[in-house]
Amino acid sequence: MKNIKHHLQTLMLLSSLAILVVVSCKRELEDLEPAEFPNTPEVFIDGFSAGLNYGAFGGSKVTAFDVDTEVKYRGSASMKFSVPDAGDPQGAYAGGTYYTSVGRDLRGYDALTFWAKASKAATIDVVGFGNDFGESKFLTVLNNVQVNSNWQKFIIPIPDASKLTQERGMFFYSEGPEDGLGYTFWIDEVKFEKLGTLAHPRASILNGENQVSPAETGQQLTIGGLTATFNMPTGVDQSVSAAPGYFSFSSSDTSVATVHEAGVVTVLSSGDAVITARLGDIEATGSLTLSSTGGAVMPQTPAPTPTIGADSVISLFSNAYTNVTVDTWNTRWQFSTAEDFDLQIAGDDVKRYRNLNFVGIEFAAQPINATAMTHFHLDIWTPDPTDLPKAFKVLLVDFGANGIFGGNDDSQHELAFTRPTLVTGQWVSLDIPLSSFTGLTNRAHLAQLVLSGDIPNVYVDNVYFYKAGAVAPPSAPTTAAPTPPVRPAADVISIFSDAYTNVPGTDLNPNWGQATVVSQVQIAGNNTLRYGGLNYQGTQFGSNVDASAMTHLHIDFWTANSTLLNVFLISPGPVETSVSLTVPTNGWTSIDIPLSSFSPVAINNLIQFKFEGNGDIYLDNLYFHKGGGGATEPTTAAPTPTYNAANVISVFSNAYNNIPGTNLNPGWGQATQVSQVQIAGNNTLLYTGLNYQGIELGSNQNLTGMTHLHLNVWTGNSTALNVFLISPGPAEKPYALTVPTSGWATFDIPLTEFTPTVDLSNVFQFKFEGNGKIYLDNILFHN
């Protein structure tokens, strides 16, 4: 009966065995004469041959193998394999390998042979040798072995026996149910033989095809489709799949591409290289001609930044929006050759597809309801030719209410795009009305996007659904950055500002290899620095800056599309430290960063700025200053007026009685934020974010006895400020105030500036128009 060694081993135990073997080999190579390995040909005749072990494959039914003494081809026993039915809880298939702990020298043989029969005509998926539960360097596989209820002899030729000096993988098999049903097959008399009747050895790589592939530096490709073919003693050819270890690979130009013994090709530089292989003395058919472009051909600028408001967008992939969950950007469906990569172009995340024939993009876990959307958008860029009839295709699939593919309620539609829509080497924005996807009858459970076509290299960005008609935010500021306050020269070291004298010789665009496009643009007449498509950008100071007397770095910045912006100060070393700026901005943001935030940068020896991030950035008023000093708010109270109260009609002043009932913040639709703040104990009127602002007097005033309008104004950043008097009609006339102010400014405006438009005998309102943050005090008339 079972007088055989019959082990079911776990993979873990096996791997430790493999390690032991490897270690012993190493010793031999270094210290000892090569050991004699046994050349025992028998694997299983009527039982396990000496040293043979069995291990079942993971996921297989471990009891599938047994020794059968009833059914056998010859002798007293055979190997019986019980293939499970589909759904067998003990394992989905029968499979395992017979291996030895000590290798055998099989160089004297040319084939593994065995006899086999089955309980019914069937096709065994895989039979072979060379599976040692480890590297399996000389794995040899006979696929689709047709068996029936008669004993037949099978021959698995050894692709190159000279390699098998210490092979441990004696025999293995793997077979699943056929049409869902299990069955039984028997194998007997398994042994290595020297047949001498195997002839005409041939070999192939890539299944004998001469393939041509574009390539790029750094790419790795594995040469597959390795076969060895022999003419059997029956005159017919039989092929086996052979592991790369049997082959010797070579590259026609090792400076372009190298190939190592496992058949893995590494592309090193641009140029052409042909990868071929030999099996022993036989030149293998098939080759891989690599045409390497060197580095990847990729867009140099990011895709256009989306302008649709986030409220009107369901985004799958865009830095401009919060993206929904996408299960995968490459489902790796069968026959898909697409490879996907995540990369950044000028700080903007982009999906790259290479060898694209088709790729599935799936978001089935959280399907998208795009019923409220009108369009599907994506930006694509390709370096490949786009001549007709080359097409790029977009397929949207809705899984229906049941949320599963193929559940009778699916709908889908594919659209193809060709020249002139497709262009080589440019970002192409596809804005596709969802109504064009005529077969997509539902879009409440969108779950797949499939990209395909004849363009193997595609960069993809800004994949989103949107609702047309949404208002786009501006892509550039319409107002100038706030003008910095006037400061003594000793209080400021300016790098870029119209308000101060800048450090001479500063290079605003040193070439540090950045992708950023630097320009200076006029915004509302104000010179402004623009970083387009920022990845990073330096500024080289004209001379080393000693800012040790300064306290703050001031920056005005504006961006609608950046999601990341860091500013660095750099001292020699370089020593650099960054501070993160909050982006995108809502209008201009002014920030004064304490220089201590940049520790350990040497503040007394600054050489450079650097900005890192993404998007389009507008910058102004880059300077170091001493802080305090009324940079953004007055630190002192407005000067107290000294007019005789009898000669004054006061609107807003602590020094006089004000017109009662005055409304300082009537609702005229303005954006201005109005507040009253205490400045050095003095009540002060503050307009923040001024566009316009009214004051309705508690009663109509006859100002014919007055001569001047008095105002105290403080603003660090306003660049425009007009004051109006208004009489009913309304009749109004502006007077321009000089801003920004240097500290508190006192204006005494002759009332004749407002006549004759305004009826001074019946003034009932004020109005201020302009911008910025305005502190007002002592609004009064006097004579």
Binding site: G196, T197, A199, H200, V236, D237
Partner: protein, 292 residues
């Protein structure tokens, strides 16, 4: 008519082989029994021969064999029956089917192609009308093609075939080979009362080699009362007048034939797995007379 009739299957061959074993008087034949080994060293019967006719097939690649030595059989046979054997090929004289290979060999190539109403083409040449001889040593050095349904042969027919018809004219098959058994060749004689499936035949096989891997010499040595069959230096069959159950007709001149048939009664159909094209290479054909 130069028709060759054979309807011999493998089991018949084996039966006759056994028959020969038990009836042989010569120890040498027993020791070279039908499954002789390549390495067997059999004693060579010592005879002196003088070369009288040869073709070394030297010439430029693609050129036709010497027209002074060979004529062609073209087509599908005079009875439109595949040369009496239901062979499937159409014989041509095109260089695609028969030509010198430029390396000292004649190449007869069977191809899978539609031609003349058939699915295969090949070639067959003979010395009929140009050379024939009775007795002596007849040999060819050849490398076989392979694959199921491929049937090459080096053989002879009695020169009087047009007068007495087959099998009265006699047929000596110095070498026949089936592509599905690349380690076996057969030596056979046909005559009145022992033709077709009843021919006197024996196989010679390698246990660990094949005839399509290297060149081998196939020969007969023919005397007044014997036909000795050789592979290389191994005598594997002797047929004497008392071994044939009818008239011994091997006492008149025979001419030589070389061909590669596809399909037919003897070999069976080629299969989808048969690799095409298939080429038989003939290094030389030589004929000697014995010098006493």
């Amino acid at each position: 008519m130069s028709v060759k009739e054979l309807a011999l299957n493998h089991s018949n061959t084996m039966k006759y082989s056994s028959f020969m074993l038990f009836n042989s008087l010569l120890l040498i034949i027993i020791s070279s029994a039908s499954w002789g080994c390549k390495d067997d060293a059999n004693a060579i019967i010592d005879r002196n021969y003088q070369l009288v006719w040869e073709d070394e097939f030297n010439g430029a690649a693609g050129t036709a064999p010497d027209a002074a030595k060979w004529v062609y059989d073209i087509g599908i046979g005079p009875g439109n029956d595949g040369w009496g054997n239901q062979e499937l090929q159409y014989y041509t004289d095109r260089p695609e089917n028969i030509a010198l290979d430029g390396q000292g060999n004649l190449a007869i190539t069977a191809r899978s192609e539609n031609f003349g109403g058939r699915s295969f083409t090949s070639a067959r040449i003979k010395t009929q009308g140009l050379f024939a001889q009775a007795y002596g040593r007849f040999e060819a050095r050849m490398k076989m093609p392979w694959g199921p349904g491929i049937w090459p042969a080096f053989w002879m027919l009695g020169e009087n075939i047009d007068l007495v018809a087959w099998p009265q004219c006699g047929e000596i098959d110095i070498m026949e080979y089936r592509g599905q058994q690349p380690n076996l060749i057969y030596g056979t004689v046909h005559g009145p009362g022992y033709s077709g499936g009843a021919a006197i035949t024996k196989s010679f096989g390698f246990t660990n080699d094949r005839f399509d891997v290297d060149f081998h010499v196939f020969a007969i040595e023919w005397g007044v009362d014997y036909l000795d069959f050789f592979v290389d230096d191994t005598l594997y069959q002797r047929i004497r007048p008392e071994d044939v159950p009818g008239e011994w007709v091997f006492d008149q001149p025979f001419f030589l034939i070389l061909n590669v048939a596809v399909g037919g009664n003897y070999v069976g159909f080629p299969t989808p797995q048969t690799p095409f094209p298939q080429t038989m290479l003939v290094d030389y054909v030589k004929v000697y007379t014995e010098v006493k």
